[in-house]
Amino acid sequence: MASRLKLPKERNFEGPAPAWKRLVAFIIDLLVLDFVVVLPFRKVFARLVPDTTSINSIYAYLTARPEINVWLTFISVMVGILSIAYFVILEGRLNQSIGKLVMKIYVKSMQNNITFWQHIVRSLFLLPVFPFVLLWLLDPLFMFFTASNQRLSEILSRTKTVQNYVVM
């Protein structure tokens, strides 16, 4: 019966992934990274950072011991590099990280195929050192206030995060 009806054909097209989906995907990825990348470094962190909840005493302790600061920065950068590797490897091969796979969104180049350097640039915000930390503020601002929902890192890397829309 349905086959006899002349219904309009289903049309697929790519459009910007909604911000909430991207946020959920990112949270999933953070959970994965926490388990896979951050967990092994926790013991080392615990050895270096005083066992106190007082920010003041931690600050005083770290100010008095610059050599520990150097190690903490080194470890943070190491964790950042491994996190970038997570996104570069998965998005390089599948165009999706685990979070994006779950949320059914994916990464695309605004030109042809995404190159290695495009993957790197879009993940640079994971490095916890200046100037990349500025992206922690700028990336969400761009994502929420641009029509294409692109983060600044995505604009710079000429990539975008999209999802498939189906319309009749």
């Binding site: 092994p40 005083p50 302790y61 011991r65 997570y86 999706q96 685990i98």
Partner: protein, 305 residues
Amino acid sequence: MEQSPWRFIIKTLILLALFSFISAWLISLFIGDDMEGSGANIGVIPVKGVIMADGGYGIFSEDVADSTEITKLIRKAAKDRSIKGIILEINSPGGSPVASEEIANAVKEANKTTVAWIRDVGASGGYWVASASDHIVASRMSITGSIGVQASYLEFAGFLEDHNVTYQRFVGGDYKDLGTPLRKLEEDERIILQAKIDKMQDFFIEEIAQNRKLPKSEVKKLATGIFYLGSEAKQLGLVDEIGGKKEAIDYLKKELNISGAGIREYKVEKSLIDALGGLMSENFFQIGRGLGSSMQERERLEVYT
């Protein structure tokens, strides 16, 4: 047919986890104990066993408080800016006077508030070390004091004579074989040895008097070699407080004006290789030099505080 992405994802995650573990492990190797910031502000350094200048590390060797290692630990704690005070956990009957002095000097040079916590025994050289600290805490039943020097050896001269063994003496310098167990000790030699012991005893008394801020004459009266129980030592001024670890920590908290105490235990790191190495080298050394000479060497004059 399209392959499931999960296989690749799992492989990637395993690879990343492996890399993270290896990196974390490598980093932890480079982070020294002095960099640990677990909130510790009090360092505890054990001085356990006979105090020697160079202790053996065999698995079955008796407890030795190696002054080389202990002074290293004291300096390490002294250099650590997060450590505000040091507790010396003493359980030692004494040992070599030189080794005891080395540890005592390291304690005095530490430039941090130090407390000696005497457990079962802190006698002779063990007490010398304790006296170098700012405050001494001992149990009322601890054995302490025993300010004195002893030197002894077994003399085999009569035994050798009975078995028709003679000691052929060749020396350059009349007293070169002073204290050999193979012949009788002459009276002049006895006087020389006793004079050396007296001199050492004098150094010992001087150190205790200086460290405890007591008149030398008073320490001299106490320095009969007798040991005192903690409670007696307190009355005599050789110990400041009766108690244990808690009292030692409380003293530091009060002196340093700190509310919380985080303890870091400093220990001589002994790997299995060290222990096995020590055991093997000791045995091979004894076998190599021969049992007889080993026994003879062991029976030579040894001086202890």
